[in-house]
Symmetry: C2
Subunit: 709 residues, 2 copies
C-alpha cells in the first residue's frame, strides 16, 4: 500500500499529462480532451497516446506511454474501451504516473465492480491514485488545464465545483460560463473507486484561488471522513452542497424509533448544517449562491436595510427576509438619520426605505451612498421595480458603481431588478460584467441569506467537543457476554447495568425470577412500584399486558405478578419469560426521547425530541452527528417542541436541561466509542425541575449482527 504518497496537488497542477486514447477523429472523446487541454492554455507537456500514432493539432501522437522520449507524466487521462483500461494502467504504473483520470465507463455503474476493483488495487499497489472511472474529466484553473470533454468555454475564477454526475458536470461548465461564474476547478467524481469528494476538498481548501466550493452529491460513502474534512473548511470557505436522491424511496428500514425517524435525508440535512454546509435545493439556487458568495465581502453584523422604489417589491422582500432569516434593521433613529436626506416627501425612511417610483439613478446613488459608511448598517438589498421613466444605461452604471464601492468598503450589497425588456437588457449587461444581479426579489434575498448562513457559522466561537470518558473495558465485557449469548439486544437488567457504567440514572429496580423475589424486592425498594415483564421475546411490553403501574402494597404486587404472567403467555405462548422487574414508581416530569445510533452514512449520530408513547406520531425529533459541541446539542434541543416544555410552560418550573444535555453527551460518547452498539434509545427520559436531574425510564440497546467484539 502506497496510499497518500502523492500530494493531491499533482492532480491539479501536473507537470506532464498523457491522454491515453487520444484520437485524430474529432468525434472521439479522446480528441476533444486533447483539444480542450491545448485550448485552455495548459503550459506543461501534453502527450497524446494511441497505438496508431499520428499527429494531433501539431503534437506527435506516441504509440505507447512507455515511449522513452516521454518525460515526466503526473496525470494520465484514459479514454479507451473498458477492456483495455487495466493494461493501460499497468503501463502507467511502469511509467511512474501519479494520478489516473479514468474517463471510461462500463465499470461498477453497470455492475462490473470486479474489474474496477482490480484496476484500483493495481494502481494503489503501484503508488497511483484513481479519479473515476465513468467521469467527464477535470478542469483546473491553476494549471489552465481543461482535461474534460465538455465545453471549451470555461470561465476562470474562484469557484471549485465537485460533481458526482458527469453529465451534469458538462451542463454546469456551460451554465457557469453564461451566468458569469468563474471556476477554479471542476472535478467529476464518477464511481469514486478511489478518490472522492473529501480528497478534492483537501486541495480546494489549500488552494488560495478557490474562494467557494460547490458539491453535487448523490450519496456519501465515507461520511465520517467527509465531516472531518468539512470541519476544517467550512469556517474558512463557504461550502454549498446539492444532494439529490432525497425522496422517500431511499429511506432505510430500521429497527428502532431513532432509525425509522431518521429518514436518511433528515439526518443528512441536520448533519450538513452542523458541519457548516449551506445546502441548496436546486441547481439554480446553488449557482446564484456561488456567484454572490464568490464576490461579496462578509457582513460585520446582522442589520440589513432594503432600499426600494416600489412598495410592492419592498413588502415581498420583507417577507423573504423572514423566510431566509435576515434581520431588518429596526432602529428608527438610525434609519431616519441615515436615509432622511435621501428620501423624498412621499417616501419612507422606515425599513424598507422607499425612495418612490420617481427615483432615478442619482437618487439610488444618494440612498445607497448614505448607508455605505454608516456603522450599524451591515448589508443592503437594493431593489428596482420598472417604472415608465427607466433609463437602462444610467441604471447599469449606478449598479456597477455601487457594487464596486460597497465591495471596496467591505459591505455586502445585492441588486434586484424586476421588469420587462429594458430590465432584461440591464440584467444581461450586468451579467456580462460579472455583477450578481437577480430578476426576482426572492432570489436576491435568498443569496444574502446564504451569505449570512456562512457569516454566522464562521462567527461562532470555536468550542471543544463535548464528551465523557467511559470505562470502555467494562462496556466491552458486557457486550461480549450478550454476544456470547447469541443475542443482538440487551435485556432490561443488562441495559440498566450499561446505563450505570455510562452514568445515566435510572429508577431503582430489581429483577425478580419468581413471585417470592418480587415481593421481597418490592419491600426493599419501597412503594409505590411499577412491575414489568422481563423477556427477550417481548419487545413492546405494554402491548403484551406486561406492565402494571402504581402498585401500593404487597397484595397488589401479588395480583399484578399473576396478571402479567397470564397476559404475556396469552400474548405469546412461546415467549421465554425471565421474570419481572419491580421498579420505583417515578414522578411525572417532561418526557423526552434520546437516541443514538450508527448511521449508514455518517457513523455515530444522536437524536433528541419529545418522548413518550406518541413519539412516532409526533415525529418531533432532531439529529446531529458525533463528535458534537455543547452548543450544537443545545441547538438540537431547541429545534424540538420539547424545548418550550423544558423551559416550563403554564407557570411550571424550568426543567433540568443540563441533565438532558449531559445524558446526550454520555450516549454520544458511548455510541462513538463502541461501534458494536448500533442503537440506543432512552424513552422516556424524564426531566425534572432544574437541579433535580433526569431519569431514564426505559432503555433499549441493540448490537451489530457481526460476530465478535
Amino acid at each position: 500500500m502506497n496510499r497518500n504518497v502523492w500530494d493531491i496537488r499533482y492532480l491539479f497542477e501536473p507537470d506532464g499529462v498523457a491522454i491515453i486514447g487520444a484520437s485524430t477523429d474529432s468525434s472521439k472523446i479522446g480528441h476533444t480532451i486533447v483539444d480542450n487541454i491545448m485550448a485552455s492554455g495548459y503550459r506543461g507537456k501534453i502527450y497524446p497516446i494511441n497505438p496508431r500514432g499520428g499527429d494531433l493539432n501539431g503534437i506527435e501522437i506516441r504509440t505507447t506511454i512507455k515511449d522513452p522520449d516521454i518525460g515526466n507524466v503526473d496525470v494520465a487521462v484514459l479514454s479507451i474501451p473498458s477492456k483495455f483500461v487495466y493494461e493501460a494502467v499497468k503501463e502507467c504504473g511502469e511509467k511512474g504516473v501519479k494520478f489516473l483520470v479514468i474517463i471510461t465507463s462500463g465499470f461498477s455503474e453497470v455492475g462490473n465492480s470486479s474489474e474496477e476493483k482490480r484496476i484500483v488495487e493495481y494502481a494503489t499497489d503501484h503508488g497511483m491514485r484513481v479519479l473515476g472511472p465513468n467521469i467527464f474529466g477535470i478542469y483546473s484553473a491553476n494549471a489552465d488545464m481543461n482535461a474534460t470533454f465538455g465545453s471549451k468555454n470555461v470561465l476562470k475564477g474562484n469557484v471549485g465545483i465537485i460533481t458526482q454526475s458527469g453529465a451534469l458536470g458538462i451542463a454546469m461548465i456551460g451554465k457557469t460560463a453564461i451566468e458569469g461564474i468563474g471556476l477554479s476547478a471542476m472535478i467529476s467524481l464518477g464511481n469514486k473507486s478511489d478518490l472522492d469528494e473529501s480528497d478534492m476538498m483537501e486541495y480546494l481548501l489549500k488552494d488560495d484561488n478557490t474562494k467557494i466550493i460547490m458539491c453535487y452529491i448523490e450519496g456519501v460513502q465515507n461520511g465520517e471522513r467527509f465531516l472531518e474534512t468539512l470541519s476544517r473548511i467550512t469556517r474558512r470557505k463557504p461550502v454549498i452542497v446539492i444532494k439529490s436522491g432525497r425522496s422517500k424511496r431511499g429511506a432505510m428500514a430500521a429497527a428502532s424509533h431513532t432509525g425509522s425517524l431518521a429518514g436518511s435525508d433528515k439526518v443528512f440535512d441536520k448533519v450538513m448544517r452542523q458541519a457548516g454546509v449551506i445546502r441548496a435545493d436546486t441547481l439554480d439556487e446553488a449557482f446564484n449562491w456561488c456567484k454572490f458568495l464568490s464576490q461579496s465581502p462578509l457582513p460585520r453584523g446582522e442589520n440589513v436595510v432594503i432600499v426600494t422604489n416600489g412598495g410592492g417589491i419592498g413588502v415581498l422582500a420583507t417577507d423573504a427576509c423572514e423566510k431566509y432569516e435576515l434581520k431588518l434593521l429596526d432602529d428608527v433613529r438610525l434609519m431616519e438619520e441615515t436615509y432622511g436626506d435621501a428620501t423624498p416627501e412621499f417616501g419612507s425612511v422606515k425599513n424598507p426605505v422607499d425612495i418612490t417610483g420617481g427615483a432615478r439613478a442619482g437618487d439610488y446613488d444618494k440612498a445607497l451612498g448614505a448607508g455605505l459608511d454608516k456603522e450599524g448598517i451591515d448589508a443592503v438589498l437594493s431593489l428596482y421595480c420598472e417604472t415608465s421613466t427607466l433609463n437602462v444605461e444610467n441604471l447599469v452604471k449606478m449598479i456597477e458603481e455601487n457594487h464596486h464601492r460597497y465591495n471596496m468598503k467591505g459591505k455586502p450589497i445585492v441588486f434586484s431588478l424586476v421588469g420587462g425588456e429594458k430590465v432584461a437588457r440591464a440584467i444581461e449587461t450586468l451579467t456580462e460584467k460579472g455583477i450578481p444581479i437577480y430578476g426576482d426579489v426572492d432570489e436576491a434575498v435568498q443569496v444574502l441569506g446564504a451569505l449570512y448562513r456562512f457569516f454566522r457559522f464562521r462567527s461562532e466561537p470555536a468550542e471543544a467537543v463535548a464528551e465523557v470518558k467511559l470505562d470502555i473495558g467494562k462496556v466491552r465485557g458486557m457486550i461480549k457476554r450478550v454476544k456470547d449469548d447469541e443475542r443482538t439486544f440487551l435485556l432490561a437488567d443488562e441495559a440498566k447495568e450499561l446505563m450505570k457504567v455510562v452514568g445515566v440514572t435510572m429508577p431503582r429496580s430489581k429483577v425478580a425470577r419468581n413471585l417470592d423475589e418480587a415481593v421481597r424486592y418490592s419491600n426493599e425498594i419501597g412503594y409505590p412500584l411499577v412491575m414489568k415483564v422481563v423477556s427477550r421475546d417481548i419487545i413492546h411490553k405494554s402491548d403484551a399486558g406486561g406492565v402494571a403501574l402504581d402498585l401500593e402494597n404487597e397484595e397488589e404486587i401479588i395480583d399484578a405478578y399473576q396478571a402479567i404472567m397470564t397476559s404475556c403467555r396469552a400474548h405469546d405462548p412461546n415467549a421465554r419469560i425471565e421474570g419481572v422487574e419491580v421498579c420505583e414508581m417515578v414522578k411525572k416530569g417532561v418526557e423526552t426521547i434520546i437516541g443514538a445510533r450508527q448511521d449508514n452514512n455518517f457513523g455515530p449520530v444522536i437524536m433528541f425530541g419529545m418522548g413518550g408513547i406518541y413519539v412516532e406520531v409526533l415525529k418531533d425529533v432532531s439529529f446531529r452527528s458525533v463528535p458534537i459541541t455543547r452548543t450544537e446539542i443545545t441547538r438540537m434541543i431547541k429545534e424540538t417542541k420539547a424545548y418550550p416544555l423544558l423551559l416550563g410552560v403554564r407557570g411550571e418550573e424550568k426543567k433540568d436541561i443540563d441533565g438532558v444535555i449531559d445524558t446526550i453527551i454520555r450516549l454520544g460518547s458511548l455510541i462513538s466509542t463502541c461501534r458494536e452498539i448500533t442503537d440506543i434509545e432512552i424513552n422516556p427520559l424524564i426531566a425534572y425541575d432544574q437541579g433535580k436531574g433526569v431519569k431514564a425510564l426505559d432503555v433499549r440497546v441493540l448490537l451489530s449482527k457481526e460476530k465478535g467484539v
Copy 2:
C-alpha cells in the same frame, strides 16, 4: 345608492373613454395613457380632456368632459392633481360616466381618507363605480385598450392579472411580455375605495378569453365576498395568488388559542387552498405557472413519466416530484412496454426513463412518441442535460413539435433544458415561440405540480356544505342576557347551556353556590368527580388552584371545596367567586381542540388540532373557513397529528372521528350564524372509541365588544 347598476363589462369593453388630464407634454402620465390607448388599437372613441385644450396625436383635446360634442363615455380615466379630482368626478356624474379609473395618488394611502370617501360617496350616489385611486390603470384585451402608463409592449393572450400594487403592475406588464405570457387583462386596484379583486374576478370569470387569473394581493378587505367569488371560479379557471405581507409583523394579538395560533398568514394559506387557489411564493413562480397553465391541457390521471438523457437531472427531478406532490408512474410492465423500444442498451426503462447521454433529437422524438398515445401515462417531464454533441436547431425543432403534438393530444408535457450557451440560445428561441421552457429542472417539475393542483381541485366531486340548523332564537336570548350583564364572555354554566342548545355533549355537572350544594349535587351525579371554581375573574382555573380531580367521596368533596376557595382567594383576593362546578370525572381518550372564530379577513373560520394543556407548545392545528364541506373538515383533521391518534396508534381502537366532525360542523354553524360570538374554543374535546362519541370538557365563549345583539 345605485350600486351594481352597471355591468362590469363596461369597464373592460367601454364604448368611449375620456382621459381627464390628457397632456401634450410627453413626460406626463396623462400623455402616456392617451398614447398607450391609441397604440394598443382601441376601436372606441377617445376623448382627451384638458382645460388648456390643444391637440394630442391628431385628436382634439376638449377643455371639459361636459363638451356636448363628446359622445357616450363609459370610462373616464383621471390623471389630475388630487385636489381637482372631486370636481372632475362631479362633472363625470353629469356626463353619465359609468366607471371612473382614478390614477391620481395622494388619498387614503397617505392618510387622506376623507377626500377619498367623499369622492366614492359622490360617485356611488350618481351611479358610478370607482377603480383606484392610486393605480396605474387598466389593460383590457377585449377592447384592445391599454389605459395604463406602463409599457406599450403588451402581449395579448389569456392571462388576467389583478394587482394591488401599481408599481409592480408596470413591472409585470413588462415581464409578461418578455416571458411570452399573453394578457387578457391587467387591472391595478390601488386603494380599492370601491371596486376590488372580487369585482374584477366577476368579469374575468365570464370572459371566455381569460383562461387563467393571477392576483397580487397585500391584504383582503372583504374576505367573505372574495371566497364566495372564488368558489364560482376555481373549478373552472386556475387562480394563482401571490400574497405579500405574510411576515410576523402583521400577526394579530388575540385573546384565545384559536386567535394566537391563527397567525393571519396561516389562516390565509389554508383558506386559499380550501377555495382552490394555487398560491405562489414569488413572482417568478407565479409567472412560470401562468405561462404553463395558460397553455397546457389538463391531465386525465395522476401518472407522470420522466424522460431524461442524464441520471443526475433525473434524480433531481424525482426528488422534485416528491416535493411538488407528483406521482411517478411505477407500473414496471407498462413502462417496459411503452419505452422498451425507445431506450438504448445502457439506458433505463424505469421511471425516470434514461435514454442516455448519447440521445439525439430523434431519440427524444421516439421516446416522447411512445408515451403520447399510451393510456395510463398522463403527463410527461422531458429533461435535457447538455452534452458535447448538442445540436440546438434539432433540439428546438424536437421540443416545438412534441409540445404541439402533446397539446393536440390533450396530454401535458413540460420541457427543461440544463446547460450553457447553446442551451440558452435554444431557450431564447423557444420562449420567442411562446413555448414554456425551463432552465432548471426544479421549475419544470414545479409548474407541472401547479397544474396538478388545479386538476385535482376541479376533479373533486361537488359536495353540499355541512351545517346543522340551530335554535338561533334561543342562542340570541342567551347572548343578550350575557351582554345585559355587561360581559363579553360566558360563565361556565352559560357556556354549558349554549353547548346544550348547539348539540355538543359535555360531562354531567352542576354549579354549587356553597359547600352544602356541592355535596348534594355530587351525590346526585355520582363519583368520581371533578370540582372547578366558577368565577368571572379567574380565566385560567388550573393556574389559580381552582381545579381538583378524582374526588371519590363526600369527604374528599369537602376537602377539595375548601382547598379551592383558599387557593383562589390567595391567587386573586378580589376575584368574585360564584361557586364551584362539580362534574362527572371523564374517562381518558384522545384530546383534541376545536376552535371557531370571526377572522378579521375571512369571517367565520374553524380550527382543529391536538388538544390539551400543551396546545400552544405543539401548535399542531389547522384552519378552514365556513361554510365548509365534510370532505374539507376531514382534510383539516388529517393535516394534524391528532389524526393518527384518532385512527388509533399502538393497538388502540379507532376513535369517534364522526363525533369530532359533527362537533366541528356544529361550532361552524354557530359561528357563522351568530356573528356576535367572536371566539369559541373547546379544549379538550375528548374523542372516545368509535361509536362512543366525544365530550367537550371545557368551553370558552367570547362575545364581540359591540353593544346590543
